[in-house]
Symmetry: C2
Amino acid sequence: MKKQKKAAKENKNYHDLHALSRETAVWQGIQSLLDWDQETYMPSGAASIRGEQMKELAGLLHKRRTDKKFASSLQKLIDIKTGKILQKGLSEPQKSALREWKRDYLIETSLPSKFVEEFAKTTSEAMHVWDAAKKKNDFSLFYPFLDKIVGMCRKKADLIGYKEHPYDALLNLYEPSLTKKGVEKLFHPLKAKTLSLLKKIRSKPQVKDDFLHIPVSHEKQMSFGKKLAYLIGYSSENGRIDIAPHPFSSSSHPSDSRITTRILPKNFMSNIRSVLHECGHAFYEIGLPQEHFGSPLGEAISLGMHESQSRFWETRIGLSKPFWAYLLPFLKKDFGKNLENVSLDTFWKGINKVEPTLIRVEADEVTYAMHVILRFELECALMEGTLKTKEIPEAWNEKMVELLGVMPKKDSEGCLQDVHWSLGAFGYFPTYSLGNMYASHIFEAFEKDFPHWEKTVESGDFQLIKKWLGEKIHCHGRTYSAKSLLEKIAGKPFSAEAFTNYLSKKYQNIYS
Amino acid sequence: MKKQKKAAKENKNYHDLHALSRETAVWQGIQSLLDWDQETYMPSGAASIRGEQMKELAGLLHKRRTDKKFASSLQKLIDIKTGKILQKGLSEPQKSALREWKRDYLIETSLPSKFVEEFAKTTSEAMHVWDAAKKKNDFSLFYPFLDKIVGMCRKKADLIGYKEHPYDALLNLYEPSLTKKGVEKLFHPLKAKTLSLLKKIRSKPQVKDDFLHIPVSHEKQMSFGKKLAYLIGYSSENGRIDIAPHPFSSSSHPSDSRITTRILPKNFMSNIRSVLHECGHAFYEIGLPQEHFGSPLGEAISLGMHESQSRFWETRIGLSKPFWAYLLPFLKKDFGKNLENVSLDTFWKGINKVEPTLIRVEADEVTYAMHVILRFELECALMEGTLKTKEIPEAWNEKMVELLGVMPKKDSEGCLQDVHWSLGAFGYFPTYSLGNMYASHIFEAFEKDFPHWEKTVESGDFQLIKKWLGEKIHCHGRTYSAKSLLEKIAGKPFSAEAFTNYLSKKYQNIYS
């Protein structure tokens, strides 16, 4: 009897903390919904008061995450300073959760409320200014906001603290423990290998892809996108698909995980890739264990891991031959005559065409990394102060030529192309390439578990992929770090080799 | 100098209160957005956690409206118990604002937080249950929720307090100072006059309206609705138009006032009337003075006054002959051949056809009141306890036969037709008929100011209507009570006669 009582008490402390944290997650879901609305349906005139709403919400969330009630509830279970687990009888996942709670708490308490609120208001308004500046191709419109945000991000880095480089503090927000040095260690060889691969590819005859640029109506594309999403396991019960100029996924909670796509009248693959990509993100959120909603065990590990899920679907599945062996007949049926004579092989090569372009979100698998490296290098310099905000357009264009040999004609297809900086998300871009590398590492394990996956996919059965990713990754929440989960999945430590090997092999095949 | 300082201090107290209240309004805008989302785009699986979100928001709003900081800020300016204005040097509108703030504060403090949160959670979830029950035509599904809500509304009435009848406490929430007796005083003669008018109409040959039921595609209807909204002065800068099974308008703040409409494939007037109706609501919200956002001077007077604005546009303008003299050619152009031979007179008579039907939102101007009276009588009995929740379907059907001579074949077109009860909005329905009466009272003043309004409308100029309503009503916020504003506008006290006279005259004309 005594033992049972003690266990109940132990559970009580943990459950009290979880209940408190769950309420915060409910509030965070409200914030996500406002974010979603802002990028989909909000009338433009509402931007200013939406900024105030975001400020209030950010203030409340910050307060909840740092207040005494939460701190004392956490401190009962783990020593916030030393990280020593104080509560006995907890499971290993529960101990992991406590360490993650502590990590979040320390970051959150390093930022004063006023700073958090001001950051939220500024970025909410800046997003709309950026949008207008991009449309008008006028960097000077966005400049004062961006300069303020760069300053705030440098301050944020100082407030959070770092050992070596201010950028480390920001990277760590999106990918725990990632540092500038760590990124460089991955990006330097990646850059070299990409340049070498690109050189080889460019010496070969280019593949055909004109059939990808036939006109397809908005309605037909949207309908195909929806069918595709449902086919791979997305459900309108817990999600929805809307239009956004910059596709994103937004999860308010595990039973409301929405995605967006974009429809380009003469580029149907843009929609298809967006749907697959955003479904990959949504599957991660929907796959998190409901009973842990509001605790780290009900949260995604990192942005890199999140991106691995989206890129897994978008590139490893969606750009694979077996996927199109199944899907191409349906595409032909829906999108009409212009595709009739395109063979599977031609189609597959076409969608994998490698060509340096200006826009990151339209980049192929090979050149994609260069876009990320460009942003990474500029962000580091901005955070160091060796690059001034006003110098961005020129620096951008120079690097673009250096890395990809193409030159933007205007800032809207150069430094104004991405929304991230308006949102203050410095440190975010590297996780995109990390996601690609994680995806390839994970894919090796997937192939080992399912050596015949190609046949299954060819037959139109996608459930096994979703199930496998769910069991290997989604269901664990933040029980493991990215590093240890990747090792656990593949039985070997993560390295970038899986990714570069995949690229070499695949593109050797395509460009013979 | 001294005097100036004092004035500044006086202003400071008022402005401090306004600033505090403005923050609350920013939060309320978040609540409105979640409401809007719930009725338009939210995936059904999200209902449960949305309920929690609504609970949290309701709790926070209630806390902000009742907390000591707010109370002491208010008490500096007005004695909360006696209503005596304590601050010198305030303008008359500022004094009105203080009385309204006090009124709201007293209502809000009468309800315990737990009750408010439970009410929000229950009704948020009940809305989805009602929706399912309506679709399945199964009252028993909705019954346990409705019964709980009826109980909670009775408790709410007790908590708020009343002199004569529990229903008075609820009416007062939507229409300040309105009582059951007051409603009866208006509804008894209205019922008699309606019955007599209906009898006369039914003795005459019915007008034709088959041309209103030609099939028109969703896209064409939506496009026409949007053009119509923009034509009368709605703007996508501060609003948007979406689809909802039960059209509503939702204002997050004066620069984000959204409307919804519904598209019935064989009843294009449903969409057109919805758009006009909801635009009327939105104009009120957008027309409220921005500088007073967050104070009673930036809020609508009452639901009755709100409905007067929507019905002014929907019925007094949208069902008038001059309106269609301008619009019919455009309708014919857009909706095609089937309308080609319909004359203006035939069209006008058709859209004003009087016929007892089962559904309130589809009712004509004459029978509409009967639908409201039915609900009013049932609600009173439910609040008294003389009617049990489980007896609703039978009581509904009996009254339907008594008042309109028609009998629902199923509950989905009977007691399950309206969303209001699932939202706990007992006391709301009477404001619909009040709105019709207010609209006619206001229209008399409008006609006096613009004796040639018909010519202006015939020419497609709708700006004068919007401007006039803005100057007479919207810009005042809650400076005046409904009663005193109506008297101020028309130069005579409000009475229901303007409405009944309008009906008699108009329908005598139509049914000769």
